[in-house]
Amino acid sequence: MAPIQSAEQTVLAIRPEGLPAFWPADNPWLHALVFIVASIAFALVMVIVFIYVERRGVARFQLRLGPNRAGPEGVLQAVADLIKLLLKEDIVPRLADKVVHLLAPIVATVPAFMVFAVVPLWGDGAMLADLNAGVLYFIAISSFGVVGVFMAGWASSNKYSLISAMRGVAQMVSYEIPLVMALLGVVVFAGTLSLNGIVDAQSIPFALLQPLAAVIYFLAMSAEINRTPFDLLEAESEIIAGYHTEYSGMKFALFYVAEYGHAVAGAAIFATFFLGGWKGPVLPPVLWLVIKMLVVFFVGFWARATLPRLRVDQVMGLGWKALLPLAVINVLIAAVEVLFWPSGTTQWLLVPINIAIGALLVFLWSRTVSLRGGRVEVRTRAEVKA
């Protein structure tokens, strides 16, 4: 558990014991500089890796070969795409709100990378800022991405974009709550809000100790980063490309990076919260983090390759009727367990118990909650006139 820190330390709380001996721990600016560069580079490289892995992986799911032209086995595909997009003409619709249209991709992209400030990358304290309110920081930043989406949808003056933006906001509002509630279960077990502390606390990965929270978090995260089956924002069969219909060239590239940046951030956060972050035997810690992120991402695009998407009201229904109550119950159970169960080696016994409880709750909910139907009685224009 992280010790209580003084006010000065919270600004840039450095945990030197996880860092090499020559580390300039006494110079917060140098530390910040190194980690800003390192975490953004890490995130960008991971974005390229994710794009490649997803495109090739989904292609293999679909019995195709996938991109295999640019570079050996197509590894440079993302670079090729980027160059193409950079050279493309930047088209702004005549009726667009120009300034907002320009700002939107930036606002959408930045939060994806800001999240990495609190993610421990390769060891205890190897992060930009070990905030003692790291979870809060993450929640605040991650929910900011939708502002960019909304700006884009609004500024494009395109009806599809507008629908997409509205969907985005509704989805964000609905899924923020189960997401936070699921994290609360973890926080209760870890006893800290610092992400470093949460990784430290995972002698048993929280995915096992809090299976229900992990599932809820995964679903809510999928909804937050707009991945199937909740990819309403970019439902291409319905609203073309959603909020970035009217974007081209570099601005579109930024949205593309933002989409995968959010996926990278989501995978990193999931790995940190539930899979033990950088922890792991034999291999270097940063590699463990990457492996865990890829595993999380794999499940994501496996679902993307398989599942259709839910309708907008069904997404809301699932969030409010199923995920939120389950998350609340999960927090209660976690609190009771932490209060009355002796910590120590006997904690292993909680794993089967919690899995059983989770399975039971999911079973009960699948009996009661139904997402079918959904027709709305409307009056047609002729009827309104009459």
């Binding site: 989904v58 799911f61 679909q62 019995l63 195709r64 009806k159 599809y160 629908i163 969907r167 199937t228 089956p229 990819d231 439902a235 291409e236 069969s237 319905e238 609203i239 073309i240 993307r304 390759a305 398989t306 599942l307 259709p308 998407r309 839910l310 309708r311 907008v312 009201d313 069904q314 139904s370 997402l371 079918r372 139907g373 959904g374 027709r375 709305v376 009685e377 409307v378 009056r379 047609t380 224009r381």
Partner: protein, 370 residues
């Protein structure tokens, strides 16, 4: 402070003609209230090539390639419907072997067409192309066989008045047998991927329900009609060709919703395999094309020939004035008539449902616009 009433204003979107899921160049003018559909007006004609007018200036044989371009996902059945109408008009006998060949390719065409119909439906539900790619795989096998048979993969021009243009090469038969043997397994695979999926069920059950009465009144046909529970299939109820020699069931839905339409198509594919299997066993040797003069010159008169095409009743109304070209050539476009009820089905549903309901009707613009 005064209470103000929140008012919503409907807005209009022109969905199409270039929209990813309008199956070509279909356009719907949709009035939305939020995401709820208030009014739909289908508009088409962007692919109008005037085939009916073109046909009036072409000989009966030259029209066959034109019919390929009607419902381009089921060209074989278009060929078939047309040549059957001409044969009826001219009183031309068709050799046994040709009839069997027609049934075999016709049913393979039905499988291929239904594969695309269900595949695109799932795609419109939001699946990221995977079910579609799996279905394309089987369709590709069928197209390979058609390529072997008549040299093209989409526009076959295979049927002729009084028979078919080619006898299949010897390597055709083992491939068809293998295909029919393997196909039910693949259909099981699709069902595993789609039928039991909770998201699909939530999206399709009770969505876009069409009542029996309205379906009949609006001249719906094909799987779209049968999904409502009307047991009407021209192959059985107005037997043409040699369908009375085969045993097959006609899948009928109960509810008339999107899911039933999907289920009807899946079940129909299984029945197609059964028919092909029986036809492969029964097919006789002999002529595949009746000996006819180069130019068909039917006696003056008129005829309405119809067949059960994959998308519904495909009819050809021909008027002959005893010349080498028809006096009037009319196609009964099954999917255009199925679209009559689009408005009734979609009002009150959301944008996403509109796309799915439209997809479940399974239109092909080549046939609608002609």
């Amino acid at each position: 402070m005064e209470a103000t009433e929140t008012r919503t204003e409907p807005f209009v979107i022109n969905l199409g003609p270039h929209h990813p899921s309008t199956h070509g160049v279909f356009r719907m003018r949709v009035t939305f209230d939020g995401e709820v559909v208030v009014d739909v007006e289908p508009m088409f004609g962007y692919l109008h090539r005037g085939i009916e007018k073109l046909a009036e200036g072409r000989t009966y044989t030259q029209i066959i390639p034109l019919t390929d371009r009607l419902d381009y996902l089921a060209s074989m059945t278009n060929n078939w419907g047309y040549v059957m109408a001409v044969e009826k008009l001219a009183g031309v006998p068709v050799p046994e072997r040709a009839e069997y060949l027609r049934v075999i390719v016709g049913e393979m065409m039905r499988i291929s067409s239904h594969l695309l119909a269900t595949g695109f439906l799932i795609n419109e539900l939001g699946a990221f192309f995977t079910p579609l790619m799996y279905m394309y795989r089987e369709r590709e096998k069928i197209l390979d066989l058609f390529d072997m048979l008549c040299g093209q993969r989409l526009t076959y021009n295979y049927m002729r008045v009084g028979g078919v243009s080619h006898d299949p090469p010897p390597e055709f038969w083992p491939a068809v047998k293998r295909f029919v043997r393997e196909m039910p397994g693949y259909i099981d695979e699709y069902e595993g991927l789609v039928t039991t999926n909770e998201i699909v069920l939530a999206r399709t059950k009770d969505v876009g329900v069409l009542s029996k009465e309205l379906a009949i009144n609006a001249s719906a046909s094909g799987p779209f009609l049968r999904a409502t529970g009307v047991d009407w299939d021209l192959r059985r109820d107005d037997t043409y060709s040699i369908y009375d020699r085969f045993k097959f069931d006609i899948p009928v839905g109960t509810n008339g919703d999107v899911f039933d339409r999907y289920m009807c198509r899946i079940q129909e594919m299984r029945q197609c395999c059964r028919i092909i299997e029986q036809a492969l066993q029964q097919i006789p040797r002999g002529e595949f094309r009746a000996r006819l003069p180069h130019l068909v010159r039917p006696p003056a008169g008129e005829v309405y020939g119809h067949i059960e095409a994959p998308r519904g009743e495909l009819g050809f109304y021909l008027v002959s004035d005893n010349s080498i070209a028809p006096y009037r050539f009319h196609v009964r476009p099954s999917t255009m008539i199925n679209l009559t009820t689009l408005r009734d089905l979609t009002i009150g549903w959301k944008l996403a449902d509109l796309i799915v309901i439209f997809g479940s009707i399974d239109v092909v613009l080549g046939e609608i616009d002609r």
